[in-house]
Symmetry: C2
Subunit: 484 residues, 2 copies
Amino acid sequence: MKEYFLKKAEENLPEIKKKEIVINVEPITLGVGDTYIIDLGNHHVGYFSFKMWYVDGYIDAPVRMAVRFCETNTEIDDDYSDYKGGLCASWLQEEIINVDFPGVYNMPRRYAARYIKISIISAPKACALSDFVFESVTSADVDKLIPFDIRDLKLEKIDKVAVNTLKNCMQRVFEDGPKRDRRLWIGDLRLEALANYYTFNNSEIVKRCLYLFAATERNDKGAIVSHLYENPIFVSGDWYISDYSLLYVCSLCDYYNHTGDEETFKDLYSVARSAMDAAENYKDDYGIVDGGAFIDWCPGLYNKTAFEGIYLYTLDLWCQTIKKLNYTEVDIYSKRLEEGRNIAFEMLFNKEKNAFINKFDENQYSVHSAVWMVLGGVVSGEDAKKILLNALDSEDSVKPKTPYMHHYVVDALITLGLIERAEEYIKYIWGGMVDDGADTFFEIYVPNNPDFSPYGDRKINSMCHAWSCTPTYFIRKYGLGYDL
Amino acid sequence: MKEYFLKKAEENLPEIKKKEIVINVEPITLGVGDTYIIDLGNHHVGYFSFKMWYVDGYIDAPVRMAVRFCETNTEIDDDYSDYKGGLCASWLQEEIINVDFPGVYNMPRRYAARYIKISIISAPKACALSDFVFESVTSADVDKLIPFDIRDLKLEKIDKVAVNTLKNCMQRVFEDGPKRDRRLWIGDLRLEALANYYTFNNSEIVKRCLYLFAATERNDKGAIVSHLYENPIFVSGDWYISDYSLLYVCSLCDYYNHTGDEETFKDLYSVARSAMDAAENYKDDYGIVDGGAFIDWCPGLYNKTAFEGIYLYTLDLWCQTIKKLNYTEVDIYSKRLEEGRNIAFEMLFNKEKNAFINKFDENQYSVHSAVWMVLGGVVSGEDAKKILLNALDSEDSVKPKTPYMHHYVVDALITLGLIERAEEYIKYIWGGMVDDGADTFFEIYVPNNPDFSPYGDRKINSMCHAWSCTPTYFIRKYGLGYDL
């Protein structure tokens, strides 16, 4: 089957569209120690070239320069020599190049940048740089962006940045971030696909990603691998993240519900069913799923309750979808869902505290637990609203750190009909990034703490991250900002 | 005329021959901090590629590495961070590269190396490097190397290294050094062409170089520019070195005398004549040429006498050559030569000291003066032998620093019939480099002072330098080492 899935993935390889951004055809004269900053005017992903020529006579030695690609202006003056993060320093987008000749120099790698900083390290004399060209690449067809009507200027701006984020992460697959990782993760795929349906509506790339995951290996519990690489060769990732495996099921259901592509659903049904059933192997003695979930990049978070919520949320979506397609197995899963919700409420809900604070999470109070219990359908109605809003408003609760988790907060608010609060939340989180000058939404965003990084150093954070692009999904799907 | 000369140069562009040297197909596993040294087995000029693959799972971040190309083993452990030379540090052959993917990585620039040192700076995990390929390039056709007979093993070894030096400097033009400068200088051209006639005998490349210089601008005295660039564009150098301008005349005469190519000589006659006549503009009130000569990279050398010798030497060769071709102007130049020799002897020879120690050189005693007075025909016979040998053997005389000047020492010895001493000198200088493990001859060589550099730092010295390749010319032309 692997070969078949890879063949289907190959058939759905999206076309990469290229657009040249030409900046400053006029030459800039630079000598040793000089620095020049190019502003592309927006965040782009692609390839950079420039022309080097001479000013005061032929440049008779190579010109050594550092070329740094910055997603935001904070990176321009960062000192990379003191980088102390846990992720590989080679993700810091800086090249030391030696340019041998007067002529056009094409940098060979792909970069993600709004700003390009060129610093001359060694040169025998001044050189003139000109014809800076950034070839922006994406598989999003910007000419096909679905038009929509919005009156709220803030949300309109947020939508624009969200669309740009998605565009720059849409390449051969839905990349998580074009600066760092550049790979396909299930958690990101799901959110990008949702945003994509309401913007560029490129179902080909979603289909491709679903087939790529189908071609990976399962772990001993039957779960799907969390991520994969496909260029230049296909390789399964080596991590199994239990909630991501479930989100593959959600992604396939979303795809079918959006496109009605029954053929693909049936092709991938057994893969999704394997992931759905794998969750049974994660259950503890109480019948609560446990272990190996991601939930959020949130240090110190206990996440068993949230994972149980994701399990139930997935089961619900799975039941609804296979019911539409008349799969008789729906009865098995509906039963599991009902039983699961009951067990979850019984074991995870703390009646005294009227919150999902329980021994499984070391009695930790978190927004994460509340959000996922709501989305998992363990509580509903006015009770649910109170539980969720209390968690959000409490000074004692652990708060989400990533826009990935913020997405599910908004999803839960909307699920409970708290539309105004959802708008407010979007404006607080994504609007905060816009206020900070974001061209694309960041991987990590903690209001009032711009230096927060789960990796030990802000410099390695990805500032255009796919999982942060979903405001456009909410705004467009639910018509947010239309009725002022 | 410029366009015509460039067209002729283009017509004589030599073919670049490529040969792949494959080293270690078996993978080497390297992690952060590890270093691996590849030995190409000989000095080569060309392009490097390798394959990067994974060992313990996919390498999920770029691998940042330093790749250093070393002409000799002394460079392997050099610390480039403390480079303090006057020439641009960008000539130090080290690249910092970021390799994104498993696959074959082709380094984009041309390098000169026997050793390649790879150091892993950042990587998420160990990587496997293999299939190291160095594509050696040269316009020398090694299959056409003229065979010859020699019995002296030392001279045979010297010849081999000289031929390798020439081969690696023969590219689109005669480069001075493939590591540094990589351009066409007249002084180097002349010596490379002489060595070439007795080895690869590629007259096309000599012709090309002569035409390229013809296309340059003259200075206000009518002299020819000392060097030029021709790739990717033709640009005249911006220095005028008065002895180099004269050596263009010698190079053209050598070319005609070797090839009998009258057409080319006549085509370039006016250019050479301009350079010959320009020397008149360098004469001082005494009739001695003065100013702007190179002679040798020898700190503190006073070089007026040597320059006068070069002038007379050139005039002599010019007269002999144009006489063969029946140019009537020969009478003008013969008269100049005779007068010049008389003035030089009168003004520059110190009878009391029986040496060319004079006020014009601040009474400095140098081998350079003696050599060029001999080659200029100012002295001859037993007197000349004594003058030259005294200068060579004196502890007080300034000695040559470069193999370029050593060439003319040998030339003077042979001119005076001092064949054994010439062999001895070759063995002392070039044999010394061979004893030091040279695969190619160095730009600078001072016995017992391997760190000498005219540029302030040995690290920038070129260790394969065209002007050092001439032992092969002497050995093969004069049959040195044949009769033991």
